[in-house]
């Protein structure tokens, strides 16, 4: 795969670690807020809906704060989180896969899967079109027969399937 850009620079591990710990604290605060609005006291039916989540939220904030403290200590492990080139590889999957996940709702799972597999193999794998086509079309076909015909599980379909009357 792409190795030309693998210089040894990237976001430092410490920064990411602090960011994650902060995100955990924020998440805990959201849980606390939500619990308080649901009621954390004692009602006629016993502990109210927010009672248990409130203490969960509290534990999240505390553990997040401890992790934050540990991450900021000078003796925390240094180094980089990942090289920029590596993160680029990851984003090359995350972005198209997210588009794919959204597309499933509009054009159905078969067509979007075919396009996604074809993109992946062509772009990242540099395969010839015959190989790409055989996998990209063959895989959804197999899925169609296994799920819809054998196991009778319906999968999302789009306009093309409707037009084909499947």
């Amino acid at each position: 795969m792409n190795t030309q850009e693998s210089s040894n620079s990237g976001p430092s591990h410490k920064v990411v670690e602090i960011g994650v710990a902060l995100a955990v604290v924020v998440f805990g605060l959201i849980v606390l807020l939500g619990s308080i609005s649901a009621g954390i006291g004692w009602g006629s039916e016993g502990p109210r809906a927010g009672f248990f989540p409130f203490y969960i939220g509290l534990s999240i904030v505390i553990s997040g704060a401890v992790n934050l403290w540990n991450a900021m200590r000078p003796d925390a492990p240094g180094g980089i989180f990942a090289e920029w080139g590596q993160l680029r590889q990851v984003l090359l999957v995350v972005i198209p896969a997210t588009i794919y996940a959204v597309a499933v709702g509009y054009i159905g799972i078969y067509v979007s899967s075919a396009i996604f597999i074809a993109w992946f193999m062509r772009w990242l794998g540099k395969y010839g079109w015959p190989t790409v086509a055989s996998v990209a079309i063959g895989m959804p076909l197999i899925v169609y027969f296994v799920f819809e015909k054998w196991f009778l599980v319906a999968l999302p379909k789009g306009p093309i399937e409707q037009w084909l009357n499947l």
């Binding site: 998440f27 939500g34 502990p47 109210r48 989540p53 540990n70 990851v90």
Partner: protein
């Protein structure tokens, strides 16, 4: 004696042609899942769970557990041949397995790994057969406070036994609990933590979380490493198998010790991965060949594989008898029980005898079938491994998407899966363990219910969790587990001090 009658009935159920077919399909799929990167036991079972909706619960659980056994076997293949652990619990197998393969002893290493796996599983299944009914009948007497104490113990031992920093384990676990609380509150019927988003009304489904965290997260990690499969050929013939089998009895002590470690770590939800490391570590310290460990010592393959498979199997004991799964995969299986309309917990042994004993019998047969299949199919499996990642990855991703969709027939879940995928990648990179999150997500509602019921009966007095001998001893065990690393450190310091 009643157990044996029940077990025989179980064998009769398992030996029905349809169930045998389902078993073989499950094992083969499981081995594939174990061999392929990005598909592990937990998310493999989660993806295939929807396929079982139309089956009877017994056939369904046989298929899913067999996928699990297959995955446990399959993990060893990649570790030994390619030095790439297909599953986290086979990391320790690479230490000696791969050097053996480099010395041209791949056949021996694989045979030793598979046979050890089988022995570990067999030991754990026998233990389940004998112990599970006792635990279940004991647990039938549990009230809400005792139930909560068991959950408490399970989660505390996670914190104490995990090799990740304790506060990261707690953070991960509590996030799981928080996600489990989103949506409708079962006791008051009130909405909570939805913040007005209609997508959150039904809460977070743990199957989506499992597929995202483990499946997509793993693919992203593999992408980052830019992994290429490069590896040796494997050939196993009968001569190699027999020769290795002749040499294995020498390590009976290592096997037995690894079985016990595995069973213990499997029942407490520490899981197969720490069990394999611990077993390897102890074998290295105790064995007279300890110095050769890491250079291709067969004992270094026997120890982790036996323990991993014993732990993986033993994880089903608390799942069946208490409704508390011992591993993420067992948690997914427990989710399956709920979907098939069975209530996990001790009542299963009373109300669903055919199901429980069919499952236990299938563990015996499934592992035997698994052993035969892996021993005969290694060349085929090694060939599959040579399919490049850029073909495998999109196919796995599509399978994950299909699995996520079919859980609730909801397109939004596919997007949630991607969110969990990115989350899993970042958490894994920052040493936040994923298993506690998943287990808390599965058990959150049940733990909360028993907690609130206990408080209700005691009018809000927390003393209810220490009100009788049984519940207090479980709670105290939990507290010991929670502070285990602190206790251990104190002990070593005390010993290190000169007298």
């Amino acid at each position: 004696m009643e157990e044996f009658t029940n077990l025989f009935h179980g064998f009769a159920v398992t030996l029905q042609p349809f169930n045998i077919m389902v078993m073989v399909i499950g094992i083969v799929l499981g081995i594939l899942i174990g061999v392929l990167p990005g598909l592990g036991g937990a998310n493999g079972v989660a993806i295939l769970l929807p396929l079982t909706f139309s089956m009877s619960p017994t056939s369904a659980i046989i298929m899913l557990t067999c996928i699990y056994w297959g995955a446990l076997f399959g993990g060893a293949i990649t570790s030994i041949l390619f030095n790439i652990p297909g599953e986290p619990w086979s990391v320790a197998t690479t230490f000696d397995g791969h050097p053996m393969a480099q010395q041209g002893k791949a056949g021996e290493a694989l045979t030793a790994a598979f046979t050890s796996s089988f022995i570990g599983a067999l030991f754990a299944v026998i233990m389940i057969t004998l112990v599970a009914p006792l635990v279940a009948s004991f647990a039938l007497r549990f009230g809400p406070a005792e139930k909560f104490a068991v959950y408490f113990l399970a989660f505390c031992s996670f914190v104490g036994l995990s090799k990740e920093p304790p506060f990261k384990t707690i953070a991960s676990m509590m996030i799981g609990f928080a996600l489990a609380a989103v949506g409708l509150d079962a006791i008051t019927g009130q909405l909570r933590l939805t913040f007005g988003f209609t997508e959150l009304l039904n809460g977070f489904d743990f199957l989506i979380a499992v597929i995202g965290l483990f499946g997509i997260g793993e693919i992203l990690l593999t992408m980052e490493e830019g992994l290429n499969f490069r590896g040796g050929k494997a050939k196993i013939d009968l001569k190699v198998v027999l020769r290795t089998w002749m040499s294995l009895p020498r390590y009976w002590m290592t096997s037995l010790r690894s079985c016990i470690i595995g069973c213990w770590m499997g029942i407490t939800p520490a899981g197969a991965t720490p069990a394999s490391f611990m077993s390897y570590g102890i074998a290295k310290r105790v064995s007279k060949n300890g110095r050769n460990f890491g250079k291709g010592e067969i004992e270094g393959v026997v120890a982790p594989e036996t323990a991993a498979h014993a732990a993986g199997t033993a994880a089903l004991l608390p799942m069946l008898s208490l409704g508390v799964p011992g591993s993420p995969t067992a948690a997914v299986l427990l989710g399956g029980l709920l979907i098939w309309g069975l209530q996990p917990g001790p009542m299963l042994f009373v109300e669903q005898k055919e199901f429980v004993w069919g499952l236990i019998a299938s563990m015996y047969l499934g592992n035997l079938v698994g052993l035969i299949i892996v021993l005969t199919c290694v060349p085929v499996l090694a060939a599959i491994l040579r399919i490049p990642f850029s073909i495998i990855a999109p196919i796995i991703l599509v399978l994950c998407a299909i699995g996520a969709y079919t859980v609730n027939n909801n397109v939004f879940d596919v997007i949630m899966m991607m969110v969990f995928g990115v989350l899993g990648y970042v958490m894994k990179k920052c040493n936040y363990p994923l298993a506690p999150l998943v287990l808390a997500l599965v058990l959150g509602k049940m733990a909360e219910e028993s907690f609130r019921q206990s408080l209700l009966s005691s009018q809000g007095n927390l003393g209810v969790f220490f009100s009788n001998g049984l519940v207090s001893s479980i709670m105290v065990l939990g507290l010991i587990a929670l502070f285990w690393s602190v206790i251990q450190e104190g002990y070593t310091r005390l010993r290190a001090r000169p007298a």
